[in-house]
Amino acid sequence: MAMQALLTELTPYVGRLCGPIALDEGPDAAQNALIIVLRDLRQLREPAALRGWVRTIAVREAVRVARRGRRDVPAELPDVPAPGDPQLAADVRAVLDRLSPAHRAVLVLRDLEGLDEAAAAELLAIPAGTVKSRLHRARRSFRQEWER
């Protein structure tokens, strides 16, 4: 029953990370991530590091699953609603739809998890400069709304 309790504890957190990155494939990503977490739990040496370890697995799995199932998306954001647009709050999903999985991962790590660029880069295994450029492009059109 201990595994059940851990699964209950971690599922909402993993769902919050996988949902915005993997979108329609979010449940698949969350399922895969939780399998990896529970299967590899014995490799975790420091219990206090659990949340960060789970975050790394969930974000990487969400990007992998989203890339596997994704259709081509434009790199730019031509149709993003302007800041202050009353439709924007309801259109966050539509905005995320226009981003690549990696863009979405960067935004989730920075805006939901509060990671700095270096930490986000390390987690995504990409250069910090790439994180910065991805973040700049992704946030350019709706920064004010997301930071409100």
């Binding site: 919050r16 979010g26 529970l38 966050v92 709304e145 997301w146």
Partner: protein
């Protein structure tokens, strides 16, 4: 704003598959039952009737204690061996574990139909190796268990 961000849900059948993948010696499968979830779960949640039909190792199951969603059940094997099971039973989710055995059931609504999941497993040292050796027969057994459950649920409902 965070409330507007999409989240990913893990439905009970997915949760069952996670448990199966994470536990050495456990295996899960699923079947679509062409009946509404309330009917399917009414059958699945009747543990004393349904578990002996689902699990070949059970000849008889008796619930002897109940405290909310937590139950204690005694199962008896065809050879007369007894095992005490700690059970969590709630709508669309059931998890039973004894010292040596595991089983779980889950259901998810799919329109007018129901996706039903079942998990079986053993809790013994080396269960993972046993699983790899016995994978094909165990998969066939699981498939048969699921198909027979679906047939029972659909036949019973058809008679109503």
């Amino acid at each position: 704003m965070s409330a507007a961000w999409p989240t990913a849900d893990l439905d009970p059948v997915r949760r069952l598959h996670v448990m199966a993948a994470a536990i050495p010696g456990a295996m899960s499968g699923e079947v679509v039952v062409r009946r509404p979830i309330a009917q399917v779960w009414a059958r699945a949640g009747d543990l004393e009737t349904e578990l002996p039909l689902l699990v070949h190792d059970f000849r008889e199951v008796r619930v002897r204690d109940r405290d909310g969603e937590r139950l204690v059940a005694d199962a008896r094997s065809p050879l007369g061996l007894r095992a005490r099971f700690d059970v969590v039973l709630r709508p669309n989710w059931c998890w039973c574990e004894s010292r040596f055995l595991l089983c779980g059931m889950a259901a998810v609504e799919q329109g007018d139909d129901t996706l039903f999941g079942f998990l079986g497993g053993v809790r013994v040292p080396g269960a993972g190796r046993l699983e790899s050796i016995a994978s094909r027969p165990a998969t066939a057994l699981l498939r048969g268990t699921l198909d027979r459950f679906a047939a029972r649920a659909e036949a019973e409902s058809a008679q109503d």
